[in-house]
């Protein structure tokens, strides 16, 4: 059974089922600012021609919340709630994503790492997946 991204162009899914997904970003060759997701024009210096880069799978949690509603509203009611966070990657981008865990698992400044969440099975029988972050354990206590 294959794994397919919820939307193409944002992350790469390795063939190895145990390997983590890779976020696809861009780096400006003129000012070196790094972005997620991919873009042609640098948002900082307006230079045209950003280069494709792959981003780190680890970062620090800038902020988090826990949603007490099913994901996708009432469409998929199998999920009681879920974490959401903003993660600062070492290259610079801040990424909004689902978090694995519950309220008591999250702390601002903690190190988190990327993996995949299966959202549903599509008509072809493939797993529709999206990236998520989960606390790295044991968690360092350092805060940003």
């Amino acid at each position: 059974m294959a794994r397919v991204p919820i939307e193409a162009g944002f992350f790469r899914i390795p063939d190895d089922p145990s390997a983590a997904p890779v976020l696809l970003g861009s780096r400006c060759p003129d000012c070196d600012e790094v972005f997620f997701p991919r873009r042609l024009v640098c948002a900082r210096c307006l230079s045209v021609g950003c280069l494709d880069v792959e981003l780190s799978g680890r970062g620090r949690l800038w902020t988090w919340t826990y949603c007490y509603v099913p994901m996708f509203g009432k469409v998929d009611s199998s999920v009681p709630g879920y974490g959401v966070g903003q993660v600062d990657l070492p290259e610079g981008p801040r990424v909004q994503a689902i978090l694995l865990g519950t309220s008591s698992d999250f702390r601002i400044g903690m190190e988190v790492e990327i993996d995949l969440e299966t959202l549903r099975e599509d008509a072809a029988g493939d797993d529709v997946v999206i990236y998520r972050f989960r606390p790295v354990s044991p968690s360092p206590t350092e805060e940003t």
Binding site: A43, W64, Y68, Q96
Partner: protein, 388 residues
Amino acid sequence: MRHGLRFDGVAVAGIGMVRFGLYPDRPAAHLARDAGLAALVDAGMTLADVDESFVGYIQPGSMIGVKAMKELGLTGLPVTHVENASATGLVAFRDAAWAVSSGRADVAMVLCFDKFTDMVKAGGGGAGRDQIDAPILPAAYFALWAQRRMHERGTRPEHFATVAAKNWNYGALCPTAHRQPDHVVTPDEVLASRLVAEPLTTMMCCPPDDGAACVILAREDLVRARRPDRPVVRALASALQSESYSRGHTFVGPVVGPATMTRDTAAECYEAAGIGPDDVSVAFCHDAFVNEELEYYELLGFCAEGDAEKLVEEGATGPGGRIPFNTDGGLIARGHPGGPTGLAMIHESVLQLRGEATGRQVADARVALCHLVGGGSVCTVNLLEAAP
């Protein structure tokens, strides 16, 4: 170089709105018609007096603005659609004020409407199930902001609950508010309501609703001639910005940032008007989620950075306070259908500046400020004043 707009000789001729609420059986065009007719009556005009119209909504569908205008009559007037997410109503107001100020129209109408109940029938607004943005709801986005503030400033859920209770209780005093509680809402009641996204509870979030509102702007001399019997309210100045890039910008998922966009837009509007926050008597902001209101106390210049909690503790933004905020209940109690939201702010501003906000009147109100952010994202700040 970009500037805020200073309007010259533009006054509010008339206002009208349909109380925000749920109207599953009333077509959006009929809500719009009723708001438009109310504004025309208030202005002492008919559609034949209107030179140009700006129509705003955020629900799906093209052409429905011009069709809604036809409910008021077919006079051949130019109609332009305006859409800027939650900021739609104020941006349409800005365009109409500029049309009059620039001399291209003597009378301009702003008509906004939206039906959340139609959006639910159509499968909901926002991103679909096949988009990367889909899992992160607006409530979560603002909760992330609230959590960060609590971390940095020591803000407590009680601060958020106090502001929400203030807006619910203002709603009880405003006949056009969706939520009109029949009892005094306490911070404890707000805290005890269901958690949506930590730390936000249902009573800290705006409700889904339907509604329509209309504002007619005209040359001040025409307004004085039509309605010599009442105080004149002027459109004073406006600023509109989209985002400036800074490190930490999030491109995927809901976004209404960076927070500094509100500060920069307000500064541009104050500069255009030649006044500052100390001159403002009453203010309206995008309190779709209550923690936003605290942020905007600071970003709109009503207190120093980090002092919003103190403002809440002093009751400075409630009845009798130094700078009352959202006296019609705000997005939380008056409601937030989308397009008409900004015009409801203008509606309440005009009542306050005319001295007609019965039960919630701010003493000697001279200047009103209306702020909205819209997803994507944009920010607009607009100032109105009572003519001396």
